[in-house]
């Protein structure tokens, strides 16, 4: 059934449809509405879940870890400084191989104090062993929550779903709510092979010497590798019941493109519109949206970009001292595989609006110029 809702509420409804059993969260703008709505849903008896009020985000993740270890489906949501405060626990959830799903509203790290869109908060958590999805619509937020649990519970890795503050979190749009009966079939209750059980007491996360730790890391890497195909399968299965397809990368008009823009988040959607306009001007430009950055879809990206003359990455994030993070990752994926120049742009940090004209400017600049080594700050007022 189609409804209108803000992106934040799409996350709440996604968690409800997933029948999460434990929600532990701490409020932070612009995430607050997500858990506020969920607390209503739980209080109204529309979801049989335990809502745990905690004193910090660190505690929120700790509570989710405990819940998930006992086999409960656990959920939380946060943003920016809140996610950063969770950092230690993110590693724990990853290495304990707990299928927690978390929503993160991408918000700029302070200072200067900001509540607006920027991907640095979640990309800073890239190496904690969480799968990472970047959504570009409210519909995708809801759908990704369900697909996230499906994949997480299969590969035993947690999933982080991120989306841009305000451009999605507080934007109302049309979302098709899948029928709960279909979702119940798609996402049956979580039955873990390994769980904390008072009737079978075991140590969890105990001292692990070099005899084993190294192998745990190896196993995590293997799980990430396997996750690539499992994300695809889960996406296909989801398409069967809803008609909506999700992969790790979403190419748009890339088949015959001379140049492909590589984007993520809400900038990716606006880029589709810019691509249409550029095409109308006779410029053969495509857009490749990176939806999943961990596991990194190297093969899937290479399939799309091989044969293209040039790539231009737009990053709403920066690794200070180097470059945009999607750009770095793309370059490392291409190395030893194909020789395609990459031009790297930074845009929209701290929620600065990235307009169609801005994207067309960057595309035209990339079409004209080769010099791939300089980082270009679109619209910086210096």
């Amino acid at each position: 059934m189609k409804k209108t809702m803000m992106g934040n509420y799409a996350a709440s409804w996604g968690a409800q449809l997933a029948r999460v059993q434990v929600i532990a969260a701490y409020p932070i703008t612009p995430q607050t509405l997500i858990v506020e709505k969920l607390s209503d849903i739980v209080a109204d008896g529309e979801l049989d879940a335990k809502f745990i009020k905690v004193e910090s985000e660190h505690s929120a993740m700790a509570a989710c870890i405990g819940a998930s270890a006992t086999g409960a489906r656990a959920y939380t949501a946060t943003s920016a400084q809140g996610l950063a405060l969770m950092h230690e626990m993110l590693h724990w959830a990853g290495l304990a191989r707990l299928p927690i799903v978390m929503t993160n509203v991408n918000r700029a790290m302070a200072p200067g104090w900001s509540i607006w869109a920027d991907q640095n908060d979640s990309l800073s958590q890239r190496d904690t062993g969480w799968m990472q999805i970047y959504a570009s619509s409210a519909q995708e937020i809801l759908d990704s929550t369900l697909i996230g649990y499906k994949v997480s519970e299969k590969v035993l890795l947690p999933t982080l779903i991120s989306f841009d503050a305000f451009f999605l979190s507080h934007t109302m749009e049309v979302v098709d709510m899948p029928e709960i009966e279909l979702i119940d079939k798609y996402l049956p209750p979580y039955k873990p092979d390994y769980k904390m059980d008072v009737n079978d007491p075991r140590s969890f996360g105990a001292l692990t010497d070099e005899q084993y730790y190294y192998e745990f890391r190896y196993k995590m890497q293997k799980a990430m590798d396997e996750a690539v195909d499992i994300i695809k399968e889960a996406g296909k299965e989801y398409e069967k019941i809803t008609g909506r397809a999700y992969g790790l990368v979403h190419p748009y008009r890339c088949e015959d493109a001379d140049m492909i823009l590589v984007t993520s988040g809400t900038i990716a959607d606006t880029t589709n519109v810019a691509v249409d306009e550029l095409r109308a001007e006779g410029k053969k430009v495509g857009n490749l949206r990176i939806r999943v950055i961990r596991p990194y879809p190297k093969k899937e990206i290479l399939e799309v970009v091989k044969g293209v003359k040039k790539l231009a990455v737009i990053d709403r994030n920066i690794s200070p001292g180097y470059s945009g993070i999607f750009s770095q990752e793309l370059k490392s994926a291409l190395y030893n595989e194909v020789d395609i120049p990459v031009r790297s742009y930074i845009a929209g940090l701290g929620g600065r609006d990235v307009k169609i004209e801005d994207i067309k400017d960057m595309a035209n600049d990339a079409l004209k110029n080769d010099a791939p080594n300089d980082l270009i700050w679109k619209g910086v007022k210096i």
């Binding site: 451009f167 109302m172 749009e173 049309v174 606006t270 609006d353 307009k355």
Partner: protein
């Protein structure tokens, strides 16, 4: 695609107006997008909100810079904010005002309409006398002058997006719909 910008003052319901408008268009079978200008809103400070209406899902995710129409919830804003900024030639401006359209000088490029949404809101006891909530009345007027949404769709929009005083809000929308001279 139709892009509409709302100008209001914090607390006047501009954001809600953009949502009700979108909801009405959605009830009429359209795809919509509505969002506030992402500032830190304070009561009384000028605020903006946006609504996009299309026959297919809306993909643009930037703010609206070249609107087809502008709705001004508080006439005093026309003195502090350039409400016509970026407005397309031939575009329309709907002002909540007890004055006639020719009272406002926006140049010759635009069509100007007025509706006394404040008086309608007060009559229907929406908000307080000093801070009436004018958003549903304005949306009723919008329906009449643009024909983009029907008044029935506005009623449905009120039902699904306004939690309280739905009947009063519907009456206000209908009253504005009936009072405004259609474009």
């Amino acid at each position: 695609m139709i892009e509409i910008r709302m100008h209001g003052r914090g607390g006047q319901g501009a954001v809600k107006a953009s949502f009700v408008l979108a909801e009405a268009a959605f009830q009429g079978g359209k795809y919509v997008q509505a969002f506030p200008r992402f500032g830190v809103e304070r009561r009384g400070a000028p605020v903006e909100a946006f609504t996009r209406i299309d026959d297919k899902p809306v993909q643009i995710r930037s703010q609206i810079y070249y609107p087809d129409g502008v709705i001004v919830l508080d006439p005093s804003l026309t003195e502090v904010v350039d409400v016509t900024k970026g407005l397309k030639k031939g575009g329309w401006i709907l002002v909540n005002s007890d004055k006639e359209p020719d009272f406002f000088d926006f140049g010759d490029d635009y069509k100007v309409y007025t509706v006394d949404a404040t008086e309608i809101a007060v009559q229907n006891k929406l908000g307080s006398r000093t801070a009436p909530i004018v958003n549903t009345a304005i949306v009723g007027a919008f329906a009449k002058l643009t024909g983009i949404v029907t008044i029935d769709a506005v009623f449905k929009g009120i039902d699904s997006s306004i939690p309280r005083f739905q009947e009063e809000n519907k009456r206000a929308a209908k009253q504005a719909y009936d009072e405004i001279e259609s474009g």
